[in-house]
């Protein structure tokens, strides 16, 4: 019913999703967000994220894990044992009827299950297979196992953290760091959706589908153009402040926490010095350009600190932003969620748990005039649409449904 009202850019297209990873689930959700008819295949005991939480009221419940609800809205859900003959046959039939198959597994698992496109495309030459794996389907390390931490590390981001404009004071005591999120998974998920739609446009021109081989390691490496530029053009950057080569672009303590101060454009620097009361040192030759200020950062930092330590982060941000200088204090997640900005833009959406608990999840960061995002349906309950989809997509009879569902 819901789908009839969705006029997203991808409406009319069919997607089969087989994954228990963030990247593949998010990729397929984004295709559903754009109006495609997405069916998620889960094993009989359910996707692993059903067990992840967080749970409303703290009580584990596979039907209301926050991560699962988030990753799987705008999809229908099927429960199939694809390692049993009837389940495998149903899966192959669904794939034969689909425009996209989204996979997110280790590459060895894709090989073991027989999910390479060459084995699936005879009955469906237009099929686009989007395979998201830790290290890709090809190359010397393609069989490696991986996860979020491994991707962030092998893609170069952990070493580069803390990044511009932050830096470690004592590299010996501060090891490379990841963020406590599924950052690599979301990155790979969005890039997987980009690759999928790009391949759809190619299919329109050339008539056949293709196999997309997306590596999580490379999804991470691709977000570091400046770090890669340093290595490519001069020398790899050490893990310390000032690495950007222009200053101030830095993360400084202030009266009540931390604040980013960025004034690498000359107009910004002059405005910043105005704010600081144009101290005598502001006119010194050693601080006369962004590059000079980076070169003499050890001298400049304590002088700037005298000013930042006199103000709260909010004061500095207000004063600086009023003059167009990009400064901001460190927010908590709560400060972001509660901000008037997020509220007025209506970014978060509201959900209610089984015990009436109210909570929010992030919405969609893109507003499209003609093909707007809609939350057309909540994440499916386990197996909620098994018979509905097998009947609708494949015309399964009651007997066929029974044999799929009981094996």
């Amino acid at each position: 019913m819901f789908a009839m009202f969705n006029e997203g850019a991808l409406s009319g297209l069919k997607v089969v999703e087989l994954t228990d990873q963030v990247a593949g689930s998010f990729c397929a959700r984004l295709l559903g967000d754009a109006g495609a008819d997405v069916v998620k295949i889960e094993p009989p005991d359910g996707d692993r994220h059903r067990r992840n939480g967080p749970f409303p009221g703290g009580v584990p419940d596979p039907e209301c894990s926050g991560l699962f609800l988030y990753l799987n809205s705008n999809k229908r859900g099927l429960s199939l044992n694809i390692e049993a003959p009837d389940g495998w046959a149903a899966f192959l039939n669904l794939v034969a009827a689909a425009d996209f198959l989204v996979l997110g597994q280790e590459s060895l698992e894709i090989e073991r299950l027989g999910l390479r496109r060459e084995r699936l495309s005879d009955s469906n030459p237009g099929l686009i297979v989007t395979a998201i794996t830790p290290f890709g389907l090809s190359g010397p390390n393609s069989a490696y196992l991986g996860d979020e931490l491994i991707a962030i590390s092998a893609g170069g981001m952990a070493y580069a953290t803390p990044g511009i404009p932050d830096g470690v004071r004592d590299p010996a005591s501060e090891p490379p760091l990841r963020s406590n999120t599924h950052m690599a998974g979301y990155l790979a998920g969005v890039q997987g959706a980009v690759a999928s739609v790009a391949s759809l446009m190619s299919r329109t021109i050339q008539g056949t589908g293709c196999e997309i081989d997306l590596s999580m390691q490379e999804a991470v490496a691709a977000v570091m153009p400046f770090e890669l530029a340093h290595a490519s053009y001069h020398q790899a950057k050490p893990r310390k402040p000032g690495i950007f080569g222009v200053m101030p672009n830095t993360y400084l303590p202030c009266k009540d926490g931390y604040v980013v101060v960025m004034a690498i454009m000359e107009a910004h620097w002059r405005n910043l010095m105005d704010l600081a009361g144009n101290p005598d040192w502001s006119g010194l030759e050693v601080f006369s350009s962004a590059v000079e200020r980076a070169r003499n950062w050890d001298a400049l930092e304590p002088l700037l600190l005298e000013w930042t330590m006199d103000h709260t982060g909010a004061e500095i941000a207000q004063l600086a932003q009023d003059r167009g200088i990009p400064c901001f204090p460190a927010y908590t997640v709560g400060q972001m969620v509660d901000s008037a900005h997020v509220t007025e833009r209506g970014f978060m959406f509201d959900l209610t748990g089984p015990g009436g608990q109210k909570f929010k999840l992030p919405g969609y960061p893109v507003r499209m005039e003609r093909t707007p995002w809609r939350l057309s349906r909540p994440a499916p309950r386990l197996g909620e649409h098994t018979s509905e989809v097998l009947t609708e997509w494949l015309g399964y009879s009651a007997d066929q449904l029974l044999s799929v569902e009981t094996r």
């Binding site: 926050g66 293709c210 390691q217 490496a221």
Partner: protein
């Protein structure tokens, strides 16, 4: 992808610094003809380090060249009415307009969506703002650091008991840019079906918040703010980076279950770990995390990074090297896969850079061209495309409109 999907699509790129330039570069890699509109009057990344061999020059910046490959450069002074008129003529023959100035800047120049639609009714027009184009903070300016701090991402990044940290790389730019790419491809697909263009608005802060569903849910349920946990994981242990031989060499190890832990213990020649009641189950390992991390590091610190990775992967334990950016570009695996590209450039020669994180049917996408020299394609754009006559072109160059 034998046929690049965006062949025949022309893009007017008004991108600033990284986020939109990087997005437009991806469009160019997919076959679009991207015209970067810049001006000698206001250069940014072109005059920022890193420069090839540390020698400054407007065509020598890696920061510019690695996010502007495969584009054309046309220099126009948009403060001059004639420069603006030429920009409008470029737009009138473009399918896509991209911008990430501060809010309202395009409108003040007369290049806002409504104005552009008058000259190009089916345009796909995308605005990316640090905070978006509506809301009380729309006029705030910010680069990746500000976005990191506002979104709360920095607050979930950091060592235990220490302050918020900013992730390496330019995640806010590249991630919001990936959402922009997705929206643009969807809009172009929609336009191919229906003939209608549209306006797209993206907020970098919101793009970042889309990776924080658990933290948003917990905060809105009961006010709980996430703690910083370093490299620890709530369910997996060991899950950390460990020192190896040499200076600043690290290996990442992530153990998800008992079988992997037993394999780790065997590989480390310490089968006793798996029988030790402190480490026998995932729950016990999480309780004795620091002790276990110390033991694992005692093993790894005597070894080379790749020896640890290969022996653990051979035993089916997830492990990976902690690579720095030079190691990323030299990694034999990523080089063989075609992620690392080295387009030639007339002034700095071929330089390695990262391409798409994905290939199609066993090969990388297209063949990137080096970034344009400043104003390299002025004649191609203004004379071949817009048919500006020779004498007019010379006059506009002499008066600084072109340049």
């Amino acid at each position: 992808m034998t046929t690049l999907p965006l062949q025949g699509v022309r893009v007017a790129d008004f991108g600033q610094i990284i986020a939109i330039p990087h997005t437009a570069q991806m469009l160019a890699w997919l076959g679009a003809e991207v015209i970067l509109i810049e001006t000698e009057q206001r250069l940014t990344t072109r005059i920022w380090p890193p420069f090839a061999e540390a020698e400054p020059g407007v065509n020598r910046s890696g920061g510019f060249n690695l996010v502007n490959s495969s584009k054309m450069s046309c220099t126009l002074n948009l403060r001059e009415p004639e420069g603006m008129a030429l920009a409008r003529r470029i737009i009138s023959v473009s399918d896509v307009v991209l911008e990430n100035y501060s809010s309202g800047a395009m409108e003040r120049m007369g290049l806002g969506y409504e104005a552009v639609r008058e000259i190009r009714p089916d345009v796909v027009y995308l605005s990316l703002g640090a905070f978006g184009r509506t809301g009380p903070m729309k006029d705030l300016v910010g680069f990746h650091s500000v976005i990191n701090l506002f979104s709360g991402l920095a607050s979930v990044t950091g060592h235990k008991g220490s302050h918020p940290r900013i992730m390496g790389g330019l995640f806010p730019d590249a991630f919001s840019g990936s959402y922009c790419m997705l929206a643009l491809l969807e809009a172009l697909h929609h336009r191919a079906k229906t003939g209608e263009g549209q306006y797209i608005e993206v907020a970098m802060t919101e793009a970042l918040a889309t990776i924080l569903p658990e933290a948003v849910m917990e905060y809105t349920l009961d006010g709980t703010e996430p703690e910083r946990v370093g490299n620890n994981h709530k369910d997996k242990c060991p899950h950390n980076v460990f020192r190896c031989q040499g200076d600043e060499n690290w290996v990442a190890i992530s153990v998800e279950n008992d079988a992997q832990f037993q394999a780790l213990a065997q590989t480390a020649n310490n089968p006793g770990w798996a029988k030790d009641p402190r480490f026998a189950t995932a729950e016990a390992r999480l309780q004795h995390r620091d002790e276990l991390d110390r033991l694992v590091q005692q093993w790894t610190q005597e070894l080379q990074v790749w020896d640890v990775v290969e022996s653990l992967q051979g035993a089916k334990v997830p492990a990976g090297p902690v690579l720095d950016s030079a190691q990323v570009l030299a990694d034999p695996h990523m080089v063989e896969r075609g992620f690392v590209r080295s387009p030639d450039h007339p002034e700095v020669g071929p330089r390695p850079m990262g391409g798409f994180a994905w290939g199609v049917d066993g090969g990388p996408i297209g063949e990137p061209r080096g970034a344009p020299l400043l104003g390299e394609h002025n004649r191609k754009v203004l004379q071949d495309l817009l048919q500006v006559p020779d004498d007019e072109y010379e006059r506009l160059t002499a008066s600084g409109v072109i340049g």
